[in-house]
């Protein structure tokens, strides 16, 4: 559906994105994740024909964004970071206008407007001026605008930014309900959003893709190890060396606790080697006090930080 190859964009001498390549299958929701200024918006703007790339190609449904720009534009719905709203119009008139310039025939435009207003639940506000709407409603009008011509591809740039928690949930539900009929690319710098709405994630940082996988795989792949946290009452140095000597343990590190004589250890083990039983047995045998033990999972949030702050480690792993 969407094929991007070696996309590069320079602003002056500064590269906003470098050699970005990925594909999106039909009906998929792809999360485009990265910190601010990572190149998400640039990529999306190239995909939507807003500006040309310096080099590389991007195709939507087989149409090149540069060569067949008009064909591409008919097939995409785009919600930029700031919804492009004419605030002095009513919701209804605005959507009619967008419908017309997106190529809907005069006779059908009212019907379509009423359908998307239904879908995005903005019908009660149809006759109000957009400038009088709340941020959440404006965002929905923005999504309605992107949906109006029933495009095959939806490109949403930070669709939940600036909304309150209730609105965020509503917008996410809305996006999820659109999957299947539409292929969706959605950018965000908020992690939970990706794990909640997307099937696949691409993480981009400083203009390059640093990881691309399904949400679960990405977490697993990045972990490469599992963590166990134990609190032991006993001679710290001795405990640590014993644990380190165990089979399957790759690293340990000490963590101070508030209680005297009690030391916390973060034990990193090989993947799928659940050492909790052995660890417990060891500590009991030595006559130390086992006060706490729990597995520590790595959340996507950690993955994200890991990826975008320590790129070298990722490419090495």
């Amino acid at each position: 559906m969407i094929e991007i190859q070696n996309l590069t964009k320079y602003y002056g001498t500064k590269a906003a994105i470098r050699d970005v390549s990925f594909n999106v299958e039909k009906g998929e929701i792809l999360g485009f994740l990265g910190p601010n200024a990572a190149g998400k918006t640039t990529t999306m703007r190239i995909l939507t024909c807003y500006m040309p790339a310096t080099s590389g190609t991007a195709k939507i449904s087989g149409f090149d964004v540069f060569e067949n720009s008009m064909d591409v534009r008919k097939r995409i719905g785009y919600l930029p970071e700031n919804p492009p709203l004419y605030t002095d119009m009513t919701v209804e008139k605005y959507l009619e206008f967008v419908g017309l310039i997106k190529g809907i025939e005069h006779g059908q435009v009212r019907q379509r407007v009423s359908e998307v207003m239904e879908k995005t639940s903005i019908r009660p506000e149809a006759r109000r001026l957009i400038k009088h709407l709340s941020k959440g409603y404006k965002q929905r009008v923005g999504i309605a605008q992107a949906l109006i011509h029933n495009p095959a591809v939806l490109i949403l740039d930070e669709p939940t930014v600036g909304l309150d928690p209730k609105q965020i949930i509503e917008v996410r539900e809305l996006i999820k309900s659109l999957a299947g009929d539409h292929t969706i690319i959605l950018s965000t710098h908020i992690l939970p959003e990706v794990s909640m709405t997307c099937q696949r994630v691409i993480i981009i940082n400083e203009g390059s893709i640093v990881a691309s996988d399904t949400t679960e795989n990405l977490t697993r792949r990045l972990k490469g190890s599992e963590n166990i946290y134990v609190e032991v009452e006993g001679p710290a140095a001795q405990v640590e060396s014993k644990i380190k000597a165990m089979k399957g343990v790759t690293r340990t590190s000490r963590q101070k606790t508030s209680r005297p004589g009690v030391e916390g250890f973060s034990v990193e083990t090989e993947l799928k080697a659940d050492l909790r039983r052995d660890l417990a047995a060891l500590i009991i045998q030595q006559g130390w006090g086992l006060l706490e033990m729990r597995p520590v999972g790595m959340s996507l949030e950690d993955v994200f930080l890991h990826l975008t702050t320590k790129e070298e480690e990722v490419s090495a792993s």
Binding site: Y50, M51, P80, P84, Y86, T87, D88, F97, V98
Partner: protein
Amino acid sequence: MKNTLAVYNRELRSYFSSPLAYAVMAGFFLIAGFFFYAILTNFLNYAMRSEMQAQYYRMAPPPINVNMIALRPFFHNIAIVMVFAVPLITMRLYAEEFRSGTIELLLTSPIRNIETLLGKYFSAVTLYAALIAGTFVYQVLLFLYGKPELGQILSSYLGMLLLGGAFISVGIFLSTLTDNQIVAGFLTIILLLLFWVIGWADEFAGPKLGAFLGYISLLSHFDEFAKGVIDLKDIILYLSFSVFFLFLTYVSLESKRWRTR
């Protein structure tokens, strides 16, 4: 065509859903009405005096041409007012799209720049035409109480319309250069004034350059229409002036795509 019409309708709606159109219209009719009143009073004084003179010398009153003495200066005056009114109409056309980010909608929709441009241009021309159409009332008054010549009035209105088209093309071009309406409007006023008076330089600018400056001066061509002379070369000058600036606008829009940010 359908796209152009959609943009045209949206722009017109936007003029009338903001105070802008009303403010411009109210201001324009106030000052146009004042000009009409002042010029007509002047004309009546003159006519009365020449009639008294004729009575004194026991001669038939001389024919006084209301078109030349009253209407020609009236049209010149409202043309000057347009130098200030048109920038108010055109300054937001693109600057506002850039500022609010709606340009992103236009550039990612299956609509060509030329279609947007023409829609915007003709919406401004329509508002402008509504302004000058409002002054028909004065002509009706003249016909009720006198015998003005219709031909000259019509040629003056044709001149006003062509002049407005040229003014608007300059304004719309400058509106693509900035995302600040005030800057766009101010630059338009300056440029229009310059085009208005540039013919003054033809006396000291040397024979070749002087002739050229006289030719592109919008003022000298407008006077032909106000005198009742419709010359093809004046029409072509105004039309090619508009087309030239619309072309510059188009180029400016196309190049925007390549230098975003």
